[in-house]
Structures are given as structure tokens and as C-alpha cells.
Subunit: 292 residues, 2 copies
């Protein structure tokens, strides 16, 4: 059994990006510039955005954090997005979610220029992905592809079962794993809340990608020997023995499933750390495309 | 066993559209206007476009057919598309494929204004579909949904197996059948040229949608009792006894599979006739959206 070590791989990726940025600097070129917009004071959102900004510093990107009050109107946010779209110095930007209730999230995400949409949330970019065109792949699915690639996991002709059909993980993952090329070319089954007899399906899977958010949902008896297990779930479970009062749990009963798996991601330290690395990679890509 | 009669249903839809157009006329409103661009003299393409134009007349739409010589440059075609995008009288338009080799098809399809893209081929519309937003669904998948709906076929929690991952049928069908709502909410497996043991997968299917283009690929032993069978394949097979020298064959061995199926589409007369009806429906939708 091999652990798919997202912490290590994401560090490798950041080092590779830093080397590219150093080369850009040495050539006197503009370095990638990521902006992040956050509306309101949600603690978790601030933590995420801060760690994105810190990662930018780590690889030598420029970064700009734009904090707007929680009373910001939709019109004001759309105006800010227009500014970022038109600001030639910004290569890519993200709008941290969730947004306050007075703002229509869909309308906001549609306003981002697809060429700067490094989160890959704009429908045009999503459609490009489904139609096998070059695009920004959303960070979490992109991170999973990268893990499979770096550990040389065979996916062609394998049966991949995806659990959960969210817009940011399950749906794109099901598309990416069935596209031509590698990692991909799998026979993919997408399961969700209306699926019956899920264990009957997962026991046929060579690869299971679970993005459900239900701790310990995937148990050993649902998994075939030598399956590849990707656990995207990350849920805070109260635990009075833990320093912070909770522990992070994935969708997979790691202790028992790991005994059968050929490859498995831990939680934490698996898919999670890959996300920011892939956001940086998309920003680098955005810079390269704007240079042309 | 019930035949899913695409000829009948597509006629019903055309009659319904005609009634709506008659009401528009009675109100003194502008009727929907579809334009079709065809480059070159390919016989099959001309036949398709002519039958689209004829269907427009049948339901009371305005239609414009734009024939360009096979020597048309990419730039000239893009200029024509820009004209159609800006022409307020045109509600929707299609570019008949294939295009001659000097023209980049992808670039051309990207140039169509998504709000007039009644074929649903623009990545923005494709992404909107995958993200559960309102959009133009490509005609063939849209027609299959309509057939399932009009025959009240239960899809929720059923296992749907899609054969083939083309951009115009297999891929969108796999997405649509797994979306929330009805028809949809199926557990969907997308199979393709790299899939192993396909019969093992199809025998588990409650619903099979085959869009492969290989005559008689789906045989009785690959199908479970009472399965719903949607046959999108349509291949010309030479036959010296036939008037035109060929017969049209679907992907499904109809004679034997129909004995086991609960619902099945014939070829011809199943999915095929639905396509133009749904193009008309998208054009009506485009008009309604432009009126707002």
C-alpha cells in the first residue's frame, strides 16, 4: 500500500513553480500576480485566503488581497470584478466563497473574465474542460489528477467510481477521469444521493474518488482488494481530546480501508494540500497565456 | 414493450411550437428566426440544412439559409458570424458541420454568441448545462430527455449506461442523466473505446443509451430484462435489395433486444426525428429570452 502524500507533492509543485518564477525574474519578466477578493469577516474564509496569499509569497508571486465589508452590494462587487478584469497587472483572481446573502453568487462568478478565472468556476471554462479544450481545471480535481500522475497510477480502462456530484469536485472529476489521455480514459460511474446499492457499485471499482463529506462513509467491505482510494471529504468531528476540540475526518474509514488499498490519500495531508498548489499552477498558466 | 416513437413525438412538438408561433403572430409579435450557415456543397449537409429550413416553414418560423462557397476563408466565415451575432432580427443560428479544412471548427463555434447558439455547442452553454444552469441543450440529448419525459420513463436512482463519449451525444447525455431532477437523477456509467468488459456493465443497466455508430453492437445477451433502450446510432449499411442501395442501422440489434426491453427506440424513427424538433424548440427559447 502506498500513501498518496499530498503534503509532499504539493511542496514539490511549489518548489517547481518557485524555480519558474525565479527564472522569470532573472529574465526581467513580470511575475504572476494573483488577487483574492473576500467579502465579510467569516473566519474560515479569512484563513483560506490568508494561506493562499502566503503561498503566493512562498513561490514569488505578487498577490493582492481585497477585503470588502459584509454589507457590500452586488453592484459594488461587480464593479470591483470589472476593475480586476481590466487591470492588466492582475493575471488571475478568485472570489472567496461563500458570499453574503444580498449577492447572487452565480452572477458574480459569471462576471469574472474566463481568461483570469483561475478557480475554473466560469461555465465557459467548465465547458472547455468537458469538450477537451485547454482551460483552467478547478483546483481540487486538478490536484487529484496531479497526484495520480506523480504516483504513476494506471487509469486507462479502469473502472472509476466517483461519489458525489458537486460542481467543484464530483462532477468535474467524473468528466476528467473519462476524458481521453492520462490520467483519464477510465470507465466512470458517477454516484450521488439518489444512487441505490452504492456498495454494489463501489466493490466493482478499481478507483474510488469520494467527495461526499460524510465521515467514514467508505468502509472496508465496500472496497475491492488493491483499489485506489482518493478521499476528498474533510469534516470537523468534535473530539474533546483534540487540542482544537475537533479532528478532521475524511469520507473513508482509513484504518480499515488502507489495509486493502493499493494507493490511498490520507486526511489530512492528501487531497487538501494539493488545492492551493494547483491554484498557483493555474495562476502561472494564466500569466504564461497573457504573455503570448 | 413500448416503442418510443420519435416520429410521432417530434410531430407533436412541432404542432405545439406552431400553436405558440400562431399565438405570437396573433399578438402582432415577431416570430422566431433561425439562420443556417453552410459552407461548400456537401450533399448530406445540404440535405440536413434543407430539412431544417423546411421544418422552420412548417412551424411558422422565419428562416435564412446562407450558402458560402467551399473556398470561404476562416476570416470571411468569422465576419459572417459577427454579422449574425449583431443582427437583431436573427434569434438563433447554426453553422452546419463539417467545415472545409482551411477553417478551424473550434474557433468558429467559439465565435457564435452563446445567446444565439441554438445548437448548444459553445463551451459556455456546455458548461452551463454541466453546472445546472439554464441553457441550450444540444438537440440530440435534448430529444432523448424529451422522449423519456413524454413516455413517463422513471429515471431516478436507475443505473444508466451511456456508450460513447462524443461531444454531441455521449458526454452531454452522461451529464444530463446524472443531474438532479427528471429526467435525470440516474447513477450514470459512461463507457467508451477504452472500456473493458462492456457487456458486464451493460447487463447491470436499467437504461442503455448507445451512441457509438457500430451496427448491432448491443446484443440481447448484453441487456437485462425490462431495460430501457435508446439507440442513437445511425449507420448506412449497403444492401442491394434496398431502393437507395443501403439501409439505416442503429447500434442495437432491434429484433432480439426489443423482446427483452420495456421501452426501445427504433432506427429510423426514434431519436433521429427528435433532433430537428429540439432545434426548433431551442430557437423558440432563444426568441423568448430575447423578448425579455
Amino acid at each position: 500500500m502506498t500513501i498518496l502524500d499530498g503534503k509532499k507533492v504539493s511542496n514539490d509543485i511549489k518548489n517547481e513553480i518557485k524555480a519558474e518564477v525565479d527564472a522569470m525574474k532573472a529574465n526581467g519578466e513580470k511575475v504572476p500576480h494573483l488577487a483574492a477578493v473576500i467579502v465579510g469577516d467569516d473566519g474560515a474564509s479569512l484563513t483560506y485566503v490568508n494561506s493562499k496569499v502566503k503561498s503566493c509569497e512562498r513561490v514569488g508571486f505578487e498577490s493582492t488581497m481585497i477585503r470588502l465589508p459584509h454589507t457590500t452590494s452586488e453592484l459594488e462587487l461587480l464593479k470591483k470584478i470589472k476593475e480586476l478584469n481590466n487591470n492588466d497587472d492582475i493575471d488571475g483572481f478568485i472570489i472567496q466563497l461563500p458570499l453574503p446573502p444580498q449577492i447572487d453568487t452565480q452572477k458574480v462568478l459569471m462576471a469574472v473574465d474566463p481568461s483570469k478565472d483561475v478557480d475554473g468556476f466560469h461555465p465557459e471554462n467548465f465547458g472547455r474542460m468537458a469538450l477537451d479544450m485547454s482551460t483552467f481545471i478547478p483546483a481540487t480535481p486538478f490536484g487529484i489528477l496531479e497526484l495520480l500522475e506523480r504516483y504513476d497510477v494506471d487509469t486507462k480502462g479502469k473502472h472509476t467510481v466517483v461519489i458525489g456530484r458537486s460542481h467543484i469536485v464530483g462532477r468535474p472529476m467524473s468528466i476528467l477521469m473519462s476524458r481521453k489521455g492520462w490520467p483519464g480514459n477510465s470507465t466512470v460511474t458517477l454516484t450521488h444521493s439518489s444512487t441505490k446499492n452504492i456498495a454494489q457499485i463501489t466493490t466493482q471499482a478499481d478507483i474510488i474518488i469520494s467527495a461526499l463529506g460524510v465521515p467514514d462513509f467508505v468502509k472496508a467491505e465496500m472496497v475491492r482488494d488493491d483499489a485506489v482510494i482518493i478521499d476528498v471529504g474533510i469534516t470537523r468531528v468534535p473530539d474533546e481530546n483534540a487540542k482544537r476540540g475537533y479532528v478532521l475526518k475524511g469520507d473513508v474509514d482509513f484504518e480499515n480501508v488502507s489495509k486493502k488499498a493499493s494507493f490511498i490519500t490520507p486526511v489530512p495531508g492528501g487531497v487538501g494540500p494539493m488545492t492551493i498548489a494547483m491554484l498557483l499552477k493555474n495562476t502561472l498558466l494564466a500569466r504564461e497565456q497573457r504573455r503570448v
